[in-house]
Symmetry: C2
Subunit: 728 residues, 2 copies
Amino acid sequence: MKKIVVAFLLVLAFAAPLAAQTWIWYPGDYELWLGNEMNNRRTERGTFFPPFWKMDSHYVLVEFSKSINLTAPEEITIAAEGRYNVKLDGKLLFGAPRKLLLPSGNHKLNIKVHNQHTPPALFVKGETVHSDSSWRVTYEDKEWIDESGKASDTSTTVYSAAGCWNFNSIEQLPSHFRLPVKEQQPVSRKKDRGELIDFGKETFGYLVLKGLKGQGDLNIYYGESPEEAQYTAHCETLDRLRIAGSSVTDLATSEVSSFQDEYTLKDSKAFRYVYITNDEGVDVEQVNMLYEYMPEEYRGGFRCNDEEINRIWDVAAYTLHLTTREFFIDGIKRDRWVWSGDALQSYLMNYYLFFDGDEVKRTTWLLRGKDPVTSHVNTIMDYTFFWFLGVYDYYKYTGDAAFVRQLYPRMQSLMDYVLSRTDDNGMVQGLAGDWVFVDWADGAMSKQGELSFEQILFCKSLETMSLCAGLANDTKGEKHYSTLAGALRGKLEPAFWNEHKQALVHNRFNGQQSGQVTRYANMFAVFFNYLTPAQQQAVKHSVLLNDSVMKITTPYMRFYELEALCALGEQGNVLKEIKSYWGGMLKEGATSFWEKYNPADKGAEHLAMYGRPYGKSLCHAWGASPIYLLGKYFLGVTPVKEGYKEFAVRPVLGGLKWMEGDVPTPGGKIHVYMDKHAIRVSASKGKGTLYFASKHTPKVSRGQAVRTDKDSYRLNIDSGEEITVHYD
Amino acid sequence: MKKIVVAFLLVLAFAAPLAAQTWIWYPGDYELWLGNEMNNRRTERGTFFPPFWKMDSHYVLVEFSKSINLTAPEEITIAAEGRYNVKLDGKLLFGAPRKLLLPSGNHKLNIKVHNQHTPPALFVKGETVHSDSSWRVTYEDKEWIDESGKASDTSTTVYSAAGCWNFNSIEQLPSHFRLPVKEQQPVSRKKDRGELIDFGKETFGYLVLKGLKGQGDLNIYYGESPEEAQYTAHCETLDRLRIAGSSVTDLATSEVSSFQDEYTLKDSKAFRYVYITNDEGVDVEQVNMLYEYMPEEYRGGFRCNDEEINRIWDVAAYTLHLTTREFFIDGIKRDRWVWSGDALQSYLMNYYLFFDGDEVKRTTWLLRGKDPVTSHVNTIMDYTFFWFLGVYDYYKYTGDAAFVRQLYPRMQSLMDYVLSRTDDNGMVQGLAGDWVFVDWADGAMSKQGELSFEQILFCKSLETMSLCAGLANDTKGEKHYSTLAGALRGKLEPAFWNEHKQALVHNRFNGQQSGQVTRYANMFAVFFNYLTPAQQQAVKHSVLLNDSVMKITTPYMRFYELEALCALGEQGNVLKEIKSYWGGMLKEGATSFWEKYNPADKGAEHLAMYGRPYGKSLCHAWGASPIYLLGKYFLGVTPVKEGYKEFAVRPVLGGLKWMEGDVPTPGGKIHVYMDKHAIRVSASKGKGTLYFASKHTPKVSRGQAVRTDKDSYRLNIDSGEEITVHYD
C-alpha cells in the first residue's frame, strides 16, 4: 500500500510541467547517491551482491549561492534536505528560517546545507526568487577556478551551476524518490510439488503474496525461463521467508516484518516465472506483482511491411524500457548495474526512442564517480573510452553544452589517468588492475600488448576531449588534446594495417603485429572514418562479410558490426541479419532480448552463461540495438549540428517494401515514410536535408531537389512542412 | 535519561581491557565520519555554523579480508554496521550469516559491507578468529600496491590494515559512540530580570531544566564570563525554546520534543555562566548540567614549591582535557573545530599528560581528509606543514610505525599538492585560495612573497617526509624528499639571514629581503637546529629577548617562543614568563586558559576578539602549553629513540626550589624529582640517560656518572631502578 502511494506522488512528478523552482544539489552528487542505492540492490541467491569497483559518495557539506535583484520585497520559502543556515549579504540569520522576507535591491543569498545520509539539497520558492540551475554551488574545495573553467583572481572558491532533475515541489524530497509501480496479475498458475506462476512476459518488480497465512517456510524461486524458476538449486535469484502468524522473517537478512493478509516482498526482482514452494502449514491464495518502471514516453517509433521486424522493434523497445530504470543498467536480472559499454548503447537507442536526456546525464555522472581516479570506469579500459564517447554523443543529439561544461573537469581528470598509463608509443596496454574486455569471446582473443581496438577508442576519446575542451572554453586543452589525437591517429595505420590481410590486425606485441584479425577494430575504424574508402571496401569483404573471421556472439558487438555494415550501405544484409539473429531469439520464445545469443546453441544451452546453467540475462539493454539501427540507418535520421539544429535524413529500405516512423528531437520529432516510389518527411523543428537516390528526375512537393552525383539528390527540409518525393 | 545510559555503556568501553576482537573499518573512515559529526556541532547564536573547508566522507562499500588457518572447526559470530555478504574461499554464502562454522585448515574469509549513513564496520568473534587490525580492507580502488606500499605483481586490489579503536564487544556499535556525561549542579544562582547561574568554572555539556512547566518562551544565554551571559544581544551562543505543556519547540531548528518535568538541551555548549530569561507563564525549578567529557587518565603530573606554577599546571591540564574531545579541538566555545596548528600543540601537551595515541591518530586522519587535495589543511598553508610535523612527533613519542605506514599514501598526496605550488626558487608563497596565517597579529605582519617562517616549516616537512618514507619502505621517496629538503635547507640562510640584523628576516619579495624581523621564523630555526650555535646566541638577544621586536600576544606562538628560549637554556626567563603570562590570566579570573591574552588589555577588553565583544574563546587548547614546557624542559624528559625505547632526562629547575613529576611513556612512565642538591629518576620501561651539571664530582646511588664536559655529567638509567644523584 505504501508503495502505491509513493508511486502516485511520482507519477505526478513526472507529469508536472517545467516549474519555476526545483530542488537543487551539487552536480553529480544526487546521481552518485541514487546510483549507489541502485547498484547495491542486486542479490544472488539471497545474498547481497554489490559491484566490485570503487563507490563514490556525495559531498556532505555544500553551499548554495544566488545573486538577487528585487524591485520589491519578496517572501521566500526555504526547505532543505539536511541541516542548514542562511546568510543574507554575508550576515548569518537566526536558526534555520523556513520563511524569509528579502528586501528590495541587490542582495546575495547563501545557504549552507549539511547531510551525511543523503545529498544536501535545497528548495527555494518565492514570487521571482526560486532554486534552479542558475544557482551556484560549492563544496568549498578552494581551488580558484570560475564556472567557465578559467582561472580567476577574485574568487578562491569553485562554484558550479547547481544540479537538478524534476523535483519541483517542496514535498518531493529528492531522497524519497522511488520509481512508480502498477499491480499486475499472472497469466497462468500450475501446481506440482510447488506452484509455477507465469506473468506472460519478462517483467520486473515486487511479488505480492495475497491471502498469506499460517506457520512455516515459503520459498520463492525466480526465473526468466520456466527451467530457471523450477531448477531451484540453480536459479539466480530467490527469496526465503519464514511465516509465523502475522510476521514474516526474511531468512537472508533476518529482518522481521509484520503483515496483514497481504505481504509485498521488500526487494524487486526480474522474472517472467516464479516457482513457489512452502511448508504444509503455509497458505497463499493469489500471487500478484507490482510492476516497477521508469515512466517514459515512446517518442520514437517504427513500422514496416515486415511483421517480424515490427515485433523485433517492439521487443527491443520493451527491453530498453525494462533496463531504463533510475539509470541505464545492463540487465534486469543481472547485473542490475550501470556499465559504461552497455550504457553507451542504451544512450544511442534512447535517442531513437525516449530521447530522455536526464537519464543519460544521471548515468554519465554515476559512471564517472569522483576524483581521484583509481581505476578505469567499471575497471574496464574500453569502458573508460566509451564513457568519453557518450558525452559527445549526448551533446550532438541534445545540444546541451551546459552539461559538457559542468562535467568537463571530471573528463580532464579521467583523461589524465589514461595519459598517465600510456606506453612508450603513446598507446594503451592493459596494466595490472585493468580489465581489457572488448567482448565475451570464450578466450578466443588475445588481450596482450597494444590492441588496435583500444587504440581506436583511445584516439576517438582524445578527439572527444578536444571538442569538449572547446565547449568548455579551454582553448589550451582543445589544442593539447587535438595534438595528442592527431599523433595517435597517425600511428594507427602503420601499427595495425596489414596489407596482406587487407585488415587491421587485432594487436601488436613488442612492436610486432600478431597474426590475428578480429572484427572489433575494423568495424569501429569504418564508422569512425579512420580508413580510406578503399580500405573500407576491403575490410567489408576481408573482415565484415568474411565467415572465417571469428563470429560475434553478443548483441553488444553485433550492434557495432551491423552499424559498420550500415555505414557501408549494406542495409540489405543488415536487415537479413536482424531477422535471423533477433528473429532467432523470438523463435526461441524471447519476450525481451538477451545478453548473448549463439544460434548454434540448443535448448537450455541458451540459458547458460558464466558456467552457470541460468547465468545468462534474458533481458539485456545491449540486446535492443535494432531500435538504433532502424532509426539511424533505415529511417536514416541523424543530427548534423548539435541538438538537431540541422539534421540529415537518408532513408534506406534495405529490402523492405515500406517503412514509417518517428525520430525524436529536442522538443519535437522527425517523421519519415518511405516505400519503393515515394518518400515523405516532416520535422517539427530544425532545418534538414533529405538525401535519396532516383534514376530519373524526382518529383518533389515543394522546392527543388539538387542532383549531387549520378542518381543522387539532395533536398532541403524546413520545419513544419511535409515534403513528398516521388522517385524511381 | 537516555544520555546517561549511553554514558554508562561508554565508561565500560573505556574501562575494558584490550580484547581479542574489536570493530574494524577502513582506516581513517570512522575518524572522518565522527569528525564531521563533531565539526558540525558548532552554533553561533542559534545558527548552525559548519567549517568552511571541504568535508570528506567514508567509503560506502568496503571489503574485509582475512587468511585463516584452523586446527579444528570453529564457529564465529559476525556483525556489521551495514548490509553485508560473506565469502568463504571465494564462495558466496547465503544471506548475511550471523553465525558461521569455519572448517579446519587454511581458508580465506572475505566480508563486504555497504553503508551510506555511517562507516561500514565489521565485528567477528570466534575462539581464535576475530576482527582486529590484522584484517585487511579495501575500497576496491584497484591500484596495485600492497600493504607495505610496494608495487605487487600478484594483486590488483589495495588492501590496508583495518582501522579500529576500542569498540570491543558486539553491542558497542561504532556509530553509536557518544562521550560520557556526569550530572553537575551550579555553585550559585542570582535573579534580576533573568537568572544568572554560575557553574563555578569553565565547563562543557548539556543544560538540564528541572521542574520545567508552563506556556511561553524561555531563552538561555551562555557565557564564559558573566558579562557574556548577561549581554544577551552579543553572547556567542544561545538557545531559544517555546514551552507548551509537555512539548518544547527549539525556535532555531523548529524541532519539537516532548518532556516530562525535566528537559535536557539537545546540543552541548561551552560555558561557565548561563543567563535564563523566560515569559511569565514559564517556570523552571532547578538548572543543572550534564558535563560531557573524554575519559582520560592523567598519566603525567607536575608539582613544585611554587603554588602559582602548580595552579597554572592544573588549569592547563583542565584546559587540555576540556578541548580533548572526540578529537583535539581548538576551543570549546569556538570554533569547536579541529585545526591543524592547534592540534599539533595538543599532541605535544598530550604526550606529557594523557599519552592518548588514539586521539592523535583520529585527529590526524580527520585533518588530512581524502584525496584529491584541493586546498591546504584547514585552508592554511602553515597548517599543512604542522600536519606533517605531527605525524613524525607521533612516531617519535609512541614508536607506532604501523600508523605511519597506513597514513603514508596520504602524506605523499598532500606533499604532491605542496610541491605542485612552489615558485621558481622551490619555495612556497601564498597563492589565491591559500590562507597564510602564522599568528594573529592585528595586521602588523606581511603575508606577501616568500615568508621565512613558511619555508622553515616546509623544509622540516620535507625532512619528515623522508623519514616517513623510510618507515614505509619507500626508499626512492626517502631519497627524493631528502634531496628536496637538503636543497631548500641550503637556500634558507642565503635568502633570509641578515647579518646586520643578526636575525632571519620575515620575508622576501621578488628576491629582495624585507626590512621586517619577526620572532616566528627565528624561534623555529632555533629548536629545529637550523642555525649555527653563534647564530642561535645572536638570535636570542637580537630577537627573542629583544623587546623592540613585535610581541606575541597568543599563547599559540608563545608556545614556540618559550620552547626556543628553553632550547637555549633560558628556563629561568621562561619560568618568569610563565608566571607573568599564564599567572596573569589566573589573576584575571581564568579557570581555563585563553585563545589570546594581551597583558595590556583591561577589563572586558580581555573578552573581545574578531570585532565581537565576546568573540574570544576563554578555553583554548593552545593556552595549555605549560604542561609541555614543564614536562619537556623542566623535568626534561624526551624520547631519544621512537617510543621511548631510549630516552633522555635533562632536568632544569629554572629558579624553582624543587620539582617532581611524571612523564608518561608507552605502557609506563618516567618519574623525576629534583631539588638544588639531588635528582631522583626512575623509569618503568626503556633505557635512558640522565644529563646534569655538578661543580664537584656527584654521588650516584648506582653505576657511574660520566663527565662529558666541564661540570657536565651523564649517567645511564635502567628501567625498574630508581637512581639518586647528589650534586652541587
